[in-house]
């Protein structure tokens, strides 16, 4: 726990923040972030404007109220007047309220029109929400990868101290160049998620079957952290968004490297794999993609998430095993991993589950090689 004095200090600051004479109206970690983009700054200004208007209305209304409560106390012998209506007063405050609202609506509309702009971007990125990770697909460059929470389970379970970016760090952030118009095409794969980066003031729901758009243009290199903001199941709090904005040259180099890596991955399909290699690779894939539901020990969380240990399918039914991983189980949380895993990763994770725990000993012990996945894909395509 933080020291108490820090807590109280923050709290007092926070109260001041709503007081009419603020000592600060700029950025702070208990106000909306100003952000880095033009839109986020305008939204911040709008937020402050509306808030101050509300504060001042509050000061006037509560002022009159507390004045009345104090001045007309019965204990001081106040006598009640009998006035119970005043036509023009009613009209006046109705009109006044309307005018204030019009005053708020005008700047809001201006900012809204600016924020809402679905023209093509210099770079178009498809963002897909999965239970519980984000997929980023660069439409121009044929790059695609998943971004998973990288905070360890031990930190979450309080077994080891928490790192600085606890729950807001990922294995592979989204990378974008600065000063380019980036358009996001946002959708969901299973349930609804919502992709939010406060510093860009971009929040869009990721709805299955729909493609929403949002855009940004980041002027400053940096790492920007956000979150999933639509309840999407058990790990809703564990699928953060991290964006790395870099200079154009760095971005170009990153793209080249990504493409080369993908190519190397494809070549792996042709390699001859041994069982040990597959299991080793599969363990990594399993830890990254499957433990959320089936747990590290393969026991799952029955009845919702079945155990893989002792599963007939995993032990003896190779065809069905591949099919489940490739197609998912309709109507259940077991989704298709066909787009998420490369052929090699798919083959190795299936092999891993078939060889690990007691499954290797009790099952048929067969392995699956990448070519079988390639064959499966070709067969389905026909």
């Amino acid at each position: 726990m933080k020291s108490i004095s820090r807590v109280t200090r923050k709290f007092i600051y926070a109260l001041l923040f709503l007081a009419p004479t603020s000592v600060f109206s700029e950025a702070s970690d208990y106000n909306m972030p100003v952000g880095v983009t033009e839109v986020s700054k305008e939204i911040f200004d709008l937020h402050m404007l509306i808030m101050w208007i509300c504060v001042w209305i509050g000061v006037v209304v509560f002022g009159i109220m507390f004045y009345s409560l104090f001045k007309y106390r019965k204990s001081t012998g106040a006598k009640a007047s009998k006035i119970d209506d005043h036509f023009w007063l009613e009209i006046t405050w109705t009109v006044a309220a309307t005018l204030i609202l019009v005053g708020m609506a005008i700047p809001s509309t201006t900012v809204m029109i600016k924020a809402y702009d679905d023209r093509e971007g210099d770079i178009n990125i498809m963002v897909t929400g999965y239970q519980w990770k984000w997929q980023y697909k660069y439409l121009e460059d044929d790059i695609s990868f998943f971004s998973n929470l990288s905070t360890s389970q031990e930190q979450i379970d309080n077994d080891i101290p928490k790192g600085e970016f606890y729950l807001s760090e990922v294995d592979e952030p989204l990378v974008i160049p600065i000063n380019k118009r980036i358009r996001f095409l946002i959708t969901g794969n299973d349930v609804i998620h919502s992709w939010w980066v406060p510093d860009f003031a971009v929040k869009q729901d990721a709805v299955p079957g729909f493609i929403n758009t949002a855009w940004t243009n980041v002027p400053k290199p940096g790492i920007y952290r956000g979150a999933c903001t639509e309840l999407c199941g058990i790990k809703h709090a564990f699928m953060p968004v991290v964006v790395r904005a870099v200079e154009q040259e760095e971005y170009d180099a990153w793209v080249v490297e990504k493409i080369a890596l993908a190519e190397a991955e494809r070549l792996l399909n042709e390699k001859v794999w041994t069982k040990a290699e597959l299991v080793e690779r599969g363990e990594g894939v399993y830890l990254k993609n499957c433990v959320a539901c089936h747990q590290t020990n393969g026991q799952g969380l029955p009845p919702v998430f079945p155990a893989l240990v002792g599963s007939e399918i995993v032990m003896r039914d190779k065809t069905r095993n591949i099919e489940i991983l490739m197609e998912g189980v309709r109507g259940a949380a077991m989704q298709s991993f066909a787009n998420q895993l490369s052929e090699v990763d798919m083959a190795s994770v299936i092999t891993y589950t078939r060889q690990s725990w007691s499954n290797g000993k009790n099952g048929d012990g067969e392995i699956i090689i990448p070519q079988e996945i390639v064959d499966y894909k070709n067969k389905v395509d026909l």
Binding site: E42, L46, M65, K74, A97, Y166, L167, A201, K203, C228
Partner: protein, 529 residues
């Protein structure tokens, strides 16, 4: 028909039956009102216990007390219970007690229906709460149960949830029919619509809202049922359905529902402010018009809950403007309350303290609501703790304080005994302090970026979450004091006069009855001039 009337008359001479059957078979508006209020009180502690679990988990970052799966069940059931099991039944309980007494009627118009509408509720909540003990766990998809999380991806118990929502809806619709019938047909001679007490007005409008939107809710959950069990794809994109459709239908119900949970409180608070300012409510007719326009507008603002769902620009702007419009009648109400206090002769008994807190804190909730209506800013607020702060401000120091104020105000009338004023004031100050300690910092946590419905959070939110949790525990335990005060007033206490407060005969017919009132309120209709 005639036999029914005879038995009823007969029963009238005997007063209430004895023992359990009195409550099981009762058709008396006061008994049923009492049942509603106790039911709501019980649910307040159950829903409150769930809030305590949530706040205990969120006291520190990390997972220490519950796992996310159970946490989600807690947030979902906390919301469902507080909305459908606490606030709504409490208002219906107050309506049952007070409407016949305020309009000079002997009882509600449809007493047997009244019995049914109450007894449906324990059934509905029995089903809902029992799911928490089933192997698949209770509903875990939030009280707004967005599809497909609540359909394709829901635990099997969702079917029980759907059934329970149907039963709750039936109870509300039957209750509303009864209230409307009573108000329209059983007013004392001379009580024209524009002479009705504001609480009666607020309930008349609320009841119409309920009849309008409860079937929509029933439709939503039926579509879910079809998707889950009968192979339709209303909300399933893979089958050509539309998950966003769910949200449109849900909020078409949900937004009027929000006003259903506040309008009766407006009525209660108006009575209390006039009583303790010793001055008639300022602008009665503008209050009625404001109530009506809030109700009408509530049908055209639903998509302000969905600004980030991907609407066309014109849609976003339309719902922003319509939402801002609601601030006008709401503002008018607040101005009228303040104008009623102005040049009054004010005393500060517990009901008045709660009413003043209602006016100020509900207004704060209104301000944050106005901020949330501003679409571009809402992109930053949406689904963060800022929203949680907003709706808790309107529902806890708003609706709940309104209910508590009403209970203190009418309790001496119901029991014939004054409650303990010192304890009442203590209850108020503890509640007032802790409610703000709980919900005010949530604004900052939200602005700083903490999303709602998170069982665990990044380190920068830790300080405020600790404060919020402390406030929540104080608030939770403080409500045990209310239980004690109510029981004490039922058993003992200074005898209350018929008027209970000063010169209340001017403020309503209920004060012309004995304290406690006779079993059948007005057997002879009073004349209203």
């Amino acid at each position: 028909m005639s036999t029914i009337v005879e038995t009823h008359d007969d029963h009238g001479h005997h007063g209430p039956a004895k023992g359990l059957t009195r409550w099981l078979y009762t058709t008396n508006h006061k008994d049923i009102g009492t049942l509603y209020l106790w039911f709501s009180f019980l649910m307040l502690f159950i829903g409150g216990a769930m809030a305590m679990v949530i706040r205990a988990e969120l006291f520190e970052p990390g997972l220490q007390i519950v796992q996310p799966e159970f946490f989600n069940q807690m947030t979902t059931n906390h919301g469902l219970i507080m909305v459908f099991g606490v606030i709504m039944p409490a208002f219906v309980g107050l309506a049952n007690w007070m409407i016949p007494m305020q309009i000079g009627a002997p009882d509600m118009a449809l007493p047997r229906l009244n019995n049914l509408s109450f007894w449906l509720l324990p059934m509905a909540f029995g089903i809902l709460i029992s799911t928490l003990f089933m192997p698949a766990g209770g509903p875990n998809f939030g009280w707004t149960f967005y599809a497909p999380l609540s359909t394709t991806y829901a635990p099997d118990t969702v079917t029980f949830f759907i059934f329970s929502v149907h039963v709750m809806g039936a109870s509300s619709i039957l209750g509303s029919i009864n209230i409307i019938t009573t108000i329209l047909n059983m007013r004392a001679p001379g009580m024209t619509l524009m002479k009705m007490p504001l609480f009666v007005w607020s309930w008349l409008i609320t009841a119409y809202l309920l009849i309008a939107v409860m079937p929509v809710l029933a439709g939503t959950v039926t579509m879910m049922l079809m998707d889950i069990h009968f192979g339709t794809s209303f909300f399933d994109a893979a089958g050509g359905g539309d998950p966003v459709l769910f949200q449109h239908i849900f909020w078409f119900f949900g937004h009027p529902e929000v006003y259903i949970m506040i309008l009766p409180a407006f009525g209660i608070v108006s009575h209390i402010i006039e009583t303790f300012s010793r001055k008639p409510i300022f602008g009665y007719s503008s209050m009625v018009y404001a109530l009506t326009s809030i109700a009408v507008l509530s049908f055209v603002v639903w998509a302000h809950h969905m600004f980030t769902v991907g609407m066309p620009l014109a849609g976003e702007l339309f719902f922003m403007y319509s939402t801002m419009l609601i601030a006008i009648p709401t503002g008018v109400k607040v101005f009228n309350w303040v104008a009623t206090m102005f040049r009054g002769s004010i005393s500060f008994e517990t009901p008045m303290l709660f009413a003043i807190a209602f006016v100020s804190l509900f207004t704060i909730g209104g301000f944050s609501g106005l901020m949330l209506a501003i679409v571009p800013a809402d992109f930053q607020y949406h689904d963060t703790y800022f929203v949680v702060a907003h709706f808790h401000y309107v529902l806890v120091p708003g609706s709940l304080f309104g209910i508590i104020a009403g209970v203190y105000y009418w309790l001496p009338k119901w029991t014939g005994n004054m409650y303990d004023e010192t304890l009442g004031k203590l209850h108020f100050w503890l509640s007032f302090f802790s409610v703000n300690l709980t919900f005010f910092p949530m604004h900052f946590v939200g602005l700083a970026g903490m999303p709602r419905r998170y069982p665990d959070y990044a380190l920068q939110f830790a300080d405020f979450n600790a404060i919020v949790s402390v406030g929540a525990f104080i608030f939770g335990f403080t409500q045990l004091l209310l239980l004690f005060i109510v029981i004490k007033s039922i058993r003992t206490g200074k005898k209350a006069s018929d008027e209970v407060w000063e010169d209340t005969k001017d403020w309503g017919l209920e004060w012309t009855l004995d304290s406690p009132p006779p079993y059948h309120s007005f057997t002879v209709q009073p004349e209203v001039k």
